[in-house]
Amino acid sequence: MESVQRQNVMLPSPYRVHRVHRETEDTFTLELTGKDGAAPSEFIPGQFNMLYAFGIGEVPISISGRSESSGGWLQTIREVGTVTRALHRMKRGGVLGLRGPFGTGWPIEEAQGNDIVFMAGGIGLAPLRPALHVVQSKRDQFGEVVLLYGARTPESLLFEKERELWRAKFGVQVKVTVDAAGREWKRNVGVVTSLVERTSFDPDHTVAFICGPEVMMRFSVAELKQSGIPEDKIYISMERNMKCAVGFCGHCQFGPTFICKDGPVFRYDRIRRFLAVREI
């Protein structure tokens, strides 16, 4: 991949939509292989690709896993604009453009031998999923594994089967909550931060990975800190406008960092002071 990228980092390569998975009303997952069906390269959980819909445009999307059957990359996308709408219309066998993978990933090695807390908000579960897959593949190398997941409504919750698998088969403490629900929902309602005190982990030996809307991540960090996890054991995945993904276009600057190459995954204590500044 590296040598191909060197040629022209701004030129998307063709990838084939091997399958389309419908997740919720507005969210779907594309399974992408090479045009010839080959499995794409290695990636670090937390990294993202720039996906290009022909004639429409490009968007950064985190890799949400790898398909066990085709070996293809999974990209879970919520339809929020023109490009994601075009991607939503893609059918099996269709071709899209792709550049990547780019950026930093979740430091899973650092969590080995420790407890690990995943906190996800909304579509933020997607970039965490491949990290959970790694944990699942070597479960015995981790202590307590906790997944706290908040979403807007019960209908917008993602990856139910997998969450159940992690809970039942891999001993993951999975706690889910939604912001609002009708009476038919018999599970938690409330903010994702309220789940922290209902779980057990050893704060002195825990690494936390958070992904979700920025506001949700701020509150989550505060809650985890209160529970005793030090700031340098908390990692968050940031998001900003992005055009090039390689540090040329300047759009994704966040304080002195570029989200595209210094992030998207940052250790919290390293960006705390910039997070505190409004409109930075």
Binding site: D26, R78, E79, V80, G81, G121, G122, I123, G150, A151, R152, S156, T177, D179, A180, A181, G182, R183, W185, K186, R187, N188, V189, G190, V191, T193, S194, R198, G212, P213, V215, M216, F219
Partner: protein
């Protein structure tokens, strides 16, 4: 009644409370249970009681006229249900419904608040424990209001 004191003394809500006060609080406490679907209290009713949930799950709900009920928050094991008993005008602000079989310790809030009027130290101790519960609930409401997961189009 004495059987509840060791349980209460260990609960975070009463942690550090003076022994005399703890005995007084224990004197106002009893075990209760609610079946799934049973309403524990209803909006606008007098709030004369509060609970520590020991087992089960309770939904705080609003039922806007002409619309389906909305669950605002769920209260789980070890958490405090109800703060309106100590905040005038002592009316419940929403409905509370047990989502499953729920066991709780119920406290006579009316009795306790009268004691608080007489003994402001007790009043301070209880308010000091209850205000964070209200604060957290308010913060949660603010977060929900921001609708952070919502898709802006």
């Amino acid at each position: 009644m004495e059987t509840l004191e060791p349980i209460l003394s260990k609960h975070p809500f009463f942690k550090g409370l003076d022994k005399a006060y703890l005995e007084l609080v224990t004197g106002c406490a009893k075990n209760v249970r609610f079946d799934a679907g049973q309403f524990i209290f209803r909006q606008h009713e007098d709030a004369d009681v509060f609970y520590i949930i020991r087992q089960g799950k309770v939904a705080l709900e609003l039922s806007p006229p002409g619309r389906a009920p909305v669950t605002l928050q769920t209260i789980n094991e070890e958490e405090i249900l109800g703060w309106a008993w100590l905040v005038p005008p002592y009316h419940w602000r929403c409905d509370a419904q047990a989502l499953e079989l729920t066991r709780a310790i119920a406290f006579d809030g009316k009795c306790l608040r009268n004691k608080c009027m007489e003994d402001h130290s007790l009043g301070f101790e209880l308010l000091n424990r209850l205000l964070p519960v209200i604060g957290k609930r308010m913060e949660a409401t603010q977060l929900q209001l921001m609708d952070v997961y919502g898709a802006k189009k």
